[in-house]
């Protein structure tokens, strides 16, 4: 107990203190109770894939050096890691599949509440899949595109067509390396096959399949999720929003949506402001309905509707501690069953909605796309009905922070080039001229095994201080928004002079909110556009760019990391992957793999050092491209020391 969380925002600190006073255990308490955690698992030396085991390898070499079947530490760790990729890729891709089904529903049902909001984007996707667009109504085109897109998941021949959008050099490399994904689901299934007892035991070969499955995620399932969400829910445009728990209102019905898929939450966002429902809220004594998002659902509905961000992954329980949350509606991914323990201290109702995710102590109101509006209305009404049941203490921390968010590959385009000459040219020119040092994607979860938000904030601040433009998604994005890094003014406070000039010229914040964790595919798209624009090499691996997930925790993060590495990006995370006990695998992932795919992994717990490692990589790429020296002196520079 008594964690200080000195890097966290004020709302988190305040709510944690209250939880402590009232003896309501939070995630950090459960983490402490779990210490020490098993070293075999941490090092990747535990195998439970058959019932001859469980097996574990002695990391010091005194005990067993192989499993019962003879699998070495490298084999065991590689198999386990591959299964983590399978888990992550499955989660993202199932999300993408659901969105594709929603598009299909639009095609089947003219009266659906879902419609084609971005015909331009639908036409772009149609072109990728070779679907003819001439003379087709949006509904017909939605049907035809959905049919083709869905094939990417389960087809038995061919390759994932969404991945054809990668740079030519990259696709050639994937084919040479035999990691071009064939079908999203197939690659995940093949991981499960290969990691079964007695199949693939050569660690590099196991990881090869992991790379292929992760590409099926990043350039397949996730990208489909992002692109089709833009079609159905609208292409996000930069907008002003608010972040942190302080967005909840004492005199409003507070409804939190938490999870990942926008299918239900987007409809809730639209319907919650219907006059009829607002009237019902007033009838029970509330002034209105306040919607707030947590985790990536927050990012999805914030980007498209400006619904404020209530908090990140780590704040899901803290938000309930306010005592004013009348209902929390969840769908899938990153939802703690432990929420129940907090909710029962208050009147808060917890509602699961996905048939894939039920939780003990939660009510279940099953969501069906065909009846989306009706179910959304029902959920909101139930939240309203619960408003009069509030009891006892309520505390809303008076902490919010404004942010500009909702960037996409398309809107970054427009920002940079202006409305009438949308182009990435100014960005490429700024990099070539030495005004911007490079690009970084800083993404991912938070984890109680680190100082909350220290990793995210330190890495991001150190990068923008050194003129690196940062693209952010997921819970890193929420953290950056909460801490004021997503305002144009943040450039003057935190960014280097070169980046400041660029931000000032086009009105960008130094850290761009690109969406949810599925939207990491947007970062792939941006990198592809930069390559296409020309002047910075032929492939993503030529770019002065790097990625980081300083506080990662989920299998999805592992899959994301792998598809960035496989796309040629130097990718650094805080806590190492569970491979430290497998020396050859460890060396392969952090060194040798670069020769094969152009990207590699790095693990670094010190966030300042992590940022410097990214800068070194960026400098290495700048040098290889023979780019001009930076216009302004850089706080971190090693060239002078040479």
């Amino acid at each position: 107990m008594a964690r200080e969380l000195k890097y966290a925002d004020k709302a988190t600190q305040q709510m944690l203190k209250i939880a402590e006073q009232e003896h309501v255990p939070m995630i950090w308490d459960r983490y402490d109770a779990m210490q020490p955690q098993c070293g075999f698992g941490t090092l990747g030396l535990c195998c439970r894939h058959c019932s001859m085991g469980p097996c574990r390898i002695d990391p010091f070499g005194d005990g067993p050096k192989t499993g019962i079947c003879g699998a070495t530490a490298d084999t065991i760790a590689a198999r386990h890691l591959a299964r983590m990729i399978a888990g992550g890729a499955a989660a993202h891709s199932d999300h993408g599949r659901d969105i594709a089904h929603t598009l299909h529903l639009i095609g089947e049902n003219a009266s659906s509440v879902y419609t084609v909001k971005s015909m331009d984007k639908l036409k772009e996707i149609a072109a990728i899949y070779g679907v003819k667009t001439e003379g087709k109504e949006p509904q017909q085109l939605a049907h035809d595109v959905a049919q083709e897109v869905l094939k990417d998941f389960g087809q038995q021949t061919g390759t994932v067509r969404m991945a054809e959008t990668a740079p030519e050099a990259r696709k050639k490399l994937w084919k040479e390396q035999r990691i071009f994904p064939r079908a999203v689901d197939r690659e995940i299934v093949e991981i499960m096959h290969r990691t079964h007892i007695g199949v693939d035991a050569e660690y590099k070969n196991v990881i090869k399949q992991g790379l292929r499955a992760s590409l099926g995620d990043g350039w397949g399932g996730s990208m489909i999720g992002t692109e089709l969400s833009d079609v159905i829910f609208g292409l996000p445009n930069p907008l002003k929003t608010l972040a942190n728990i302080g967005i909840l209102k004492k005199d409003h019905v507070n409804l939190i949506v938490h999870g990942h898929e926008p299918t239900l939450s987007d409809i809730i966002a639209v319907i919650s402001q219907e006059p009829e429902l607002v009237e019902k809220a007033k009838a029970v004594g509330a002034k209105g309905i306040q919607l707030g998002g947590i985790c990536c659902t927050a990012n999805e509905i914030m980007m498209r509707h400006g619904i404020p961000l209530c908090g990140s992954y780590m704040q899901q329980e803290l938000a309930l501690m306010t005592g004013v949350v009348d209902m929390m509606v969840v769908d899938v991914q990153c939802i703690w069953p432990g929420l129940e323990n907090t909710a029962k201290c208050f009147h808060t109702r917890l509602v699961t909605t996905s048939p894939k995710a039920k939780m003990p102590g939660f009510e279940h109101i099953e969501f069906e796309e065909e009846r989306a509006a009706e179910i959304a209305r029902n959920i909101i009404e139930e939240a309203i009905n619960n408003y009069p049941n509030r009891k006892g203490r309520t505390t809303i921390p008076n902490v919010t922070q404004g942010a500009i968010a909702g960037f996409t590959t398309e809107s970054v385009f427009r920002f940079l080039g202006g409305k009438y000459r949308s182009t990435f040219r100014p960005l490429n020119d700024a990099i070539i001229a030495g005004r911007i040092r490079g690009l970084a994607g800083v993404v991912g979860c938070s984890n109680p095994n680190m100082e909350f938000e220290e990793g995210h904030l330190t890495v991001v601040r150190e990068l923008i201080k050194n003129d690196v433009l940062v693209a952010s998604t997921g819970c890193n994005a929420i953290t950056c928004a909460k801490h004021g890094l997503m305002t144009p003014e943040a450039a003057f406070k935190h960014a280097g002079k070169g980046l400041q000039e660029v931000c000032q010229a086009v009105g960008l914040p130094p850290v761009l909110h690109l969406g949810s964790c599925v939207d990491n595919s947007r970062i792939l798209r941006v990198l592809t556009e930069v390559v296409k624009e020309g002047g910075l090499g032929e492939d993503i691996s030529d770019l002065p760019a790097a990625g980081a997930a300083p506080e990662w925790m989920s299998e999805k993060a592992v899959s994301i990391g792998f598809y960035f590495v496989a796309s040629g990006v130097y990718t650094i995370i805080g806590r190492p992957l569970p491979v430290v006990g497998a020396p050859a695998l460890h060396k392969y992932l952090t060194e040798e793999i670069e020769e094969e795919v152009g990207g590699k992994w790095a693990f670094e717990m010190d966030p300042v050092e992590a940022a410097h490692m990214m800068l070194r990589h960026i400098d290495k790429k700048r040098k290889a491209l023979k780019l001009k020296p930076m216009i302004y002196p850089q706080p971190f520079s090693e060239s002078e020391e040479e």
Binding site: P36, C38, G39, T42, P59, F60, D62, G63, P576, V580
Partner: protein, 180 residues
């Protein structure tokens, strides 16, 4: 008042966590990943052995008449004071292995670097901070408990007395039923 680690055999699931925790507690970095990356191997001072379906962690018993201390030619293995653990003085130890041969439990060995003998020190530095030994606090099923002779025996006596009392009550009830 001597303290020792009691093993609740029925609770041990054989996860070997105590072994790793012991190694980490006796390392420089105190972090398993750093240890592996830097090649540091402090060795295990507790071992999980098996007999049939049972797994049982075993480490130095800190014997009163410690055979290792008696066998040591340089006085390196010794108890600093009554009731305190038996320790190895690295400065004095010549690595002759006499203690290793003398120990009836097989829980002293030469350190992985081969220079000196090493064994359970009851985590005296942790005890000084008011912490339990690393093996005890790491055990996920609480199979290891740090106890004093007095409390351990009193607990055992209490459990035995409880059984006696229950048996007596059940017996009296039976007599009552029979006579009634």
């Amino acid at each position: 008042m001597s303290r020792h680690i009691t093993v609740r055999i029925e609770r041990c699931v054989g996860c070997h966590t105590c072994e790793l925790a012991c190694a980490i507690a006796h390392s420089k970095s105190q972090d398993i990943e750093t240890m592996i990356l830097q090649g540091e191997n402090p060795g295990y001072r507790i071992h999980v052995e098996t007999y049939g379906p049972r797994s049982i962690p075993i480490s130095c018993q800190h014997c009163e008449e410690a055979a290792c201390a008696l066998a040591c030619p340089t006085g390196a293995v010794k108890r600093l004071a009554k009731g305190k653990p038996v320790l190895v003085d690295d400065e004095r130890c010549i690595g002759c292995s006499m203690c290793v041969q003398a120990c009836p439990f097989g829980v002293i060995a030469l350190r992985p670097d081969g220079k000196v003998a090493f064994k359970c020190d009851l985590c005296i530095s942790r005890l000084a901070q008011g912490l339990d030994p690393a093996c005890v606090s790491s055990c996920p099923t609480k199979a290891l408990v740090l106890e004093t002779d007095q409390t351990a025996n009193r607990d055992k006596r209490k459990a035995a007395v409880q059984k006696l009392a229950e048996a007596q009550a059940a017996g009296a009830e039976e007599v009552e039923t029979l006579s009634g």
